[in-house]
């Protein structure tokens, strides 16, 4: 049975790769519960004290709030800017779609470190709050995610006819869009928002360099902790990992629940 053999081999390969990828995370999780672990095969004892220490720490709470603020703002701005454009090119202007597609891959070809150099040079002496520049920059970085998730969602129905009928019935374009289009694409919108949220929540390069570490987000706080308190930062890493797991679980749930037809394509962009 050749076919079975190759299936078993395939499973083995995937398991090995997953084990490799997960090993450091598992080590960190164990470390976060251990008292000390220096010259022994297993940690000397288990404890919750590091969790208590972190979760009651004000710096930690503030850093989470800052990251949340950044993530929510970016998600909103990216939806407001990208959704109308993606809707419009899909429904009315397929010629423009080709050009848009090229623009949407640009964030991939330009690493954050190069982007932030340009942003720093341009905005260093302009009196705009840097946080606004930061939110716009992360919005730009999230463009491929939003585009790939939302683009394919417009293939399913004749949205042009639906949209125009709503307009004929006397609603304005924004109202028509919200009433007729939005309910049909809500799972794609949710996935797109979740991915943008995760990107912004974990952003480091631009946040750290543009604001010079003054805006202490979760990742920056994590880096600072890493320099001093190993146990506390293993707790933080575990929390961050759990957050990613939760986001992924929600994504898997939505994709299964709505039998999401775009899931083959948006992943190409991640």
């Amino acid at each position: 049975m050749r076919i079975n053999k190759s299936k078993i081999f395939a499973r083995l390969v995937i398991i090995l790769i997953l084990l490799y990828l997960v090993a450091p995370v598992l080590a960190t999780v164990v470390y976060s519960f251990s008292t000390t672990w220096v010259k022994t095969i297993l940690p000397e004892g288990l404890t919750f004290q590091w969790y208590q220490q972190i979760l009651t720490n004000q710096d930690f709470m503030l850093s989470v709030l800052r990251s949340l603020f950044l993530a929510i703002m970016t998600t909103l701005v990216s939806m407001i800017i990208f959704l109308p454009v993606i809707f419009y090119v899909n429904v009315y202007n397929s010629k423009m779609k080709k050009h848009l597609k090229i623009i949407t891959v640009l964030p991939y070809t330009i690493p954050g470190i190069i982007l932030v150099t340009g942003l720093m040079e341009l905005y260093q002496n302009i009196p705009i709050p840097k946080v606004i520049v930061l939110i716009l920059a992360i919005t730009f970085i999230s463009l491929p995610l939003s585009y790939q998730t939302l683009d394919n969602t417009f293939v399913a129905h004749d949205y042009k006819a639906m949209f125009e009928q709503a307009m004929l019935l006397g609603d304005g374009p924004i109202k028509s869009f919200i009433k007729v289009i939005l309910p049909n694409i809500k799972s794609s919108i949710f996935i797109s928002m979740l991915l943008t949220f995760a990107t912004a929540f974990g952003e480091y390069v631009i946040t750290n360099l543009l604001l010079g570490g003054n805006f202490e987000t979760l990742k920056i706080y994590m880096y600072i902790l890493m320099q001093g308190n190993g146990q506390a930062s293993s707790v933080l890493t575990t929390i961050y990992f759990v957050l990613l797991v939760v986001i992924s679980a929600v994504l898997i749930f939505i994709m299964r629940h709505y039998n999401h037809h775009t899931n083959k394509d948006w992943k190409k962009g991640l």
């Binding site: 990828l21 080590a27 960190t28 672990w37 419009y88 470190i113 150099t117 340009g118 990613l244």
Partner: protein
Amino acid sequence: MKNKLKIYLPFSLLILLILVMPLIVMVLASFQSINHPGFNLDNYRQIISNGYYHNAFINSFKIAIYSSVISMVVAIIGAWALTQLADSTKNILITIFNMSSSFAGVPLSFSLIILFGNAGMFKAITTALHLNDTFNVYSLSGLVTAYTFFEIPLGIMFLFPVFNGIDNEWHQASNVLGASKNFYIRNVVLPFILPNLVQVLILLFANAMGAYETAYALTSNTVVSVPTLIGYCINGEINPNIPLACAFATIFALIMWVMVTVGNLVIKRHKGGIR
């Protein structure tokens, strides 16, 4: 017409303010030195004449080559294995790979330090067993290892759609026509996937070359690379020098642009050769 403007304007402004203008200003600023006013090549001269800076470029190149090639090999096997599984499992696994590729940077570096660092688990276990542990995570090879943790899942995610596109009927067709398995792989599968493989490899290479967060968090004191150097030029505690950062970033962007262009040319030529 008015609606059209309303839709395109915010988007165009975003691209202009966050991408186009900063890049133009960056290139222009790279020709201005903090010591001499006016247009000059001081920054570039400095980069070309300084051995420390050469090292940064060489290191970045090495890290990118090693990590992208290693990850590519694993990702090819992984993406193939993924195509053999049931559809629902595929979807879950891809989301998991996506998640592990976003675990890059500070948390990844920290996890690796816990695993392999000076006070890490590996050290603890090897010390307890009186073994000799020679792997140094704060080195170039440590960085290459670190990069495989996000480059492998990234590679699998990019390669999976390609491998999934190989139609099983092709195999049957070539079988029916009497072709051997070797012939099928060499003349049917390879021409189809090779251009994509080159593209993904370039992508992984560029991604590794531009990665800042992991390099900064793991080896900023031990291994000098171009992204960390740019970071120091931007907000170094001693003397920030943004024009120099601009020159570095310009050269860096140019190298990547050349890589991508050459890669695309190779792909085009290859495709042309088949027809």
